[in-house]
Subunit: 209 residues, 8 copies
């Protein structure tokens, strides 16, 4: 799949992508106001699980998890057994040598970033990696922030930077590509979309009769 100058035209590939999850820490999550916190937790876990099913590496980092913001949310670490949370002190995760090494080690060039907050923890590494030549994008519904102005400013800057904003399910099916792919069933199960569950229940109900 060739890469276009306009990254929005690029489709994500499971062979070229890596997921970077930044600062989903319980203290920061308590401040999130632009998405119900149950949804935020659900979505970032769904993204992590679908990525794993698709063979896409997942990297997790946190800002001094022994400090004020607390540890990464337990639901996320539970969904990612074996993954080490990379502790760092710099605000922009791209400036942390361990994070950057983890990304470079994958050899992949598409970075799917989610973070709390959207406009800082998710956007800063997305911007810097884009400047370094990567195709980066930010997962809106697996990120969160503290008020409307921060969300508006963050979204507008990403748009201006040419970085696509996406959602967790779009990112997943973009990499899945086909509904008859062997992993399709598991990916849809990972995504756990409420309306899809309901349609399935309706279908089951009607078929039963």
């Amino acid at each position: 799949m060739s890469q276009h100058e306009n990254a929005n035209l690029n489709m994500l590939s499971r062979d070229n992508a890596v997921v970077l999850l930044v600062d989903h820490q319980v203290g920061l999550i308590s401040g999130v106001r632009d998405i119900p916190l149950g949804d935020l937790k659900h979505n970032v876990v769904a993204l992590a699980k679908a990525a794993r099913t698709l063979g896409v590496p997942v990297i997790v980092t946190a800002t001094m998890p022994d400090g004020m913001w607390g540890p990464t949310m337990p639901e996320l670490t539970a969904a990612l057994p074996g993954v080490q949370v990379i502790s760092r002190t710099v605000i922009n995760a791209w400036e942390d040598p361990n994070v950057r090494a983890a990304i470079e080690q994958t050899g992949r060039k598409q970075i799917i970033v989610a973070g709390v907050s959207l406009e800082i923890c998710a956007s800063f590494p997305a911007l810097s990696a884009k400047a370094a030549g990567y195709d980066t994008r930010v997962v809106l519904d697996a990120s969160g922030t503290f008020n409307e102005a921060k969300r508006t400013a963050g979204l507008q800057r990403l748009l201006g930077a040419g970085i696509p904003v996406t959602d967790y399910a779009t990112a997943a099916v973009e990499m899945l590509r086909s509904n008859v792919d062997p992993s399709a069933g598991e990916v849809y199960s990972d995504m756990d979309m409420p309306f899809a569950t309901l349609v399935w229940q309706i279908q089951s109900g009607f078929t039963k009769t």
Copy 2:
């Protein structure tokens, strides 16, 4: 606990209450627009589980579940093993002899109703049972309806009728009464409130350090 002329002043009692769940059927739920459907399912299950933990009977009814609206949502029947869904054809559940018998059999006088839709399936029996002398109330966030006008009209009629509107967690803690009640831990676990889980995670994170 004496009963007041104004039902809004009455506190629910686990010894006097019964829960009535009306038409949480998959076809009807697909039309709900005033609450995310994942939240609606979560809340009605939480209400059912907390009621059980508190020893409060739960009665479930559905409108011709073999017909167009489909069966009661599976998550609810799974949470209520042993409960038979009462099938009926009349729209107002209070007019169905089986439903009424099930309520009368409990000997309880406080009926906590939730239903889809709010202004018909939940409200009609709440209104009729109130007229028959019961202390009824409607659980807003375990009910749902199809547009804003229906929600507004339904809420306004209940208010005018003197029927308290509540939410699932308020109903549960109102019956729990004390945080050192032996069932407190289980009731809070049944309620599964996202912000409470997060506070607990923050506390655990800080205590650990």
Copy 3:
């Protein structure tokens, strides 16, 4: 069915109700801002048709239809063949002798009112007829008004007056009472609720396979 002191507790009866439609005139409808005008037209027609199917009389009045506000919307007159629009000059339809005579002639005591605007054309006769001893109610989604303040004020006054606010479909099924009533199919067809049509299409689609 006995009548309660609190009208909100009363259920509408097809044997005791009459529908009063006030000033659904094209000029007034152009000013409506609290409901999309396509929805307003759809709902008032659905109410009129369902009432007819249930044998409930429908009375239509308009304010000087040859004047500035123009004629009653053609979709409504088309749905009510044989119904004469009662022209009047007083603002409160209850004060018009022809309107009052038409109501009294039916001998019915429950008046279901819809009108444009909600807080004047629908509410004034609902308030006056209530004062005169009728059980009146106002159909929110078959009425409309010109801004948010007027809607809020109108709803609050009706609530204070003890007049139930309802929606067109609730009024219809309240009078239908049973889903196995012989007219049930036709009433649901009259109501033409989009989500119900969709569920039926889903069911048909699944059954077909």
Copy 4:
């Protein structure tokens, strides 16, 4: 026109009503956030003019207009030539002897109140006069307040107190009663409702062709 126990059922009468305008002062208006300030000014002037046309007395009071809140808005005093603004220091205008005397002097028993802010300057005298036996009501769109919580609290208290909330145009046509009243043309002109002007322009445009 007999008076009902439930004031919401009463219709306003031009022979029994008086308008009380409280603290439409430029400093207070600068803090209003629940209605665009141009609309607030337009509506209170329209109310004052329509009242005058209908022969309804208008009383204006202000809180120390030489002090921090500044004078009554000039557009209002210009619309009410000959009206003296009653200066006072008590917050509840009903407790000011000059205001009360001005009301009592009219011998009228229906008080139409508007004020800034809604929940204090308009509501306090409406509540106290109601307690003193008057039929009071508050004009929502000729009042204003400083944030959503204050508006919600104010509206809810008035509802609980049995005081109807209305809007300026409803109050005016309620007193006008008939569209063929000799003052009808002038009252509609006083009300100056944008959608009505537009309908008239459409009619003129079509008739011209």
Copy 5:
């Protein structure tokens, strides 16, 4: 000041009122979503300070402050030197003997309640004290809750119960009564309303020129 059957008509009196603040604990506040948390903190402190200035007793209680919900917010305890936070385990503060004793000791009959959450911690004692004969009211903008449904349900129940909802500044000026009261300056300073500060700055700026 005589007391009316309808509590909404009663004006608060600094000689008869007591303020009850329930569960403004840091863990609970982290879950509040219906008011920005900075505003919630500001308002409850302002209420406490204005009450003190007016000579109105302030009682503070918390649910097991050594437990999961954490201590009462430090800004509030700092504003109330000498006030002991009453720790309790029952959910309804009215059922706690220490809380009730503290209230009864004042001999006052008007209880101004604020709490987190609105529909439980503030409303339960307001409802129970009302049932016990007190004139209670709830301060909307010094309370908070966890989602829209809980807020709607809480407000509707208070309305149905005849309990006035108010805001912190309205409660304060209702007790202040007169702008030339000796404590007026300090009460306005305690309330610290942003728009009032701005008007004062505008006035100062203009006077200076």
Copy 6:
């Protein structure tokens, strides 16, 4: 009509455009939350009919219509007699050889896409066809999606990609070009815009008098 580097500057031409409708299947439509489903159905049918009137080919595809998402909505297939729904398994319709062949066969270079969901079913083929050199655009109000984050992300990516977002009526009149075109009457009838019908009714009403 020359093509500009910036596609937003291009005007659609009835001689160069083709309409592609993706996955308007009843199961998927049940999950749509950003547009009332009655409006969604109305708009996509209107787009299809107007395209036909203008001589613009319409291509319809669905994801395994015998599977969980069910068949294409019957209103659409009824409006397009003779059109075969192309069944496919790949998520991105552009990657389906039959869909692509159908487009290429028209020889047209402007693709007007609508789909459920907006950010996947409509956007993926719009992005890929754009990358392949086509002038693509997405019809917002003939598409729908499952929550606000998906809509925001989808719109932002299309903007970043240089793909114009349009609405069904704009697309139609852009191809109509002149109000005196022979097909103008039929195209306006196909579009069936409620406000236009109302203006016509007002005009008819006034002319009649």
Copy 7:
């Protein structure tokens, strides 16, 4: 003033600009839903008056004003004595030879467009003139459209096309440049911004004391 490749960086100049007002016809205005119609009328008149004061030519066009959409709103023609409304049948005003001639005759290269609807009547000529080399921009608050989707689509296309969206007051002060310009007083008077009037009234009130 040099022109930049990115038009958003260009400042409007009273020596190089022309205002084009498209289809502010009474029938179309009745359908506008994204701005109160009183505000729309106020703003377009303010724009026209300020332009005249600044010596900027104003061109007005309408779609068959003797037909269904009716004449241009009278307030606008009254504000522009001597201006002939150019009648046309093509939808895109840029394609009308008379409109284009009127623009070219001015020799000016910055076209400030407002229209009803925003995404068709205002945007089409803005897009086409931009393609023809002009610096065009669209005045959001002197335009209007029929629903939210049309507004969103229209704004997004203009953004993608590199056409600045502005508001009437920004356009005016951008051409005014200096608050000590001889025409400053008259331009501010033309703009008639409610908050500015209020600040002036506050200042006058304070200075008087």
Copy 8:
């Protein structure tokens, strides 16, 4: 740190940035409607203090502060002892020789602008300085404007111009870069984010136990 062609990719540097605050005057602030005025004041002071802590120069200008708009808000001048407010008459601060000289004197090339109003006072100098080769950005939550249309238009123009929109805290931490920077504690204290204070209080509360 190299500068990218796309300014959105640039990170702010404390060594290269200057803050420009335009027209935070009390009269103008009274008209702001898109942000609570308490928040606006808080944020611009926080931005000014954090800039100072980071060694970033702050320049303040006002439009004829002795005139109608009044002086710069006292909270801001108090936070910036020693800073002279530059008085000017031109609307675009970039066109004022004193403002431009103050900027040029710093030798810095990144200009962080905030102003009232957003689309004029903040945006005009940001656009002109960008055209002159500077990397400019606008601080959304330290700016404000008078209605929604002005905000939408302003944001869209900045986006089109390639000027990043940011918020005060993002700008500050972007320049801080590291949480272990010696000034980190003071910068976080300057920013004074309510949720962060609460997390710290929770941590303190839990640690204490």
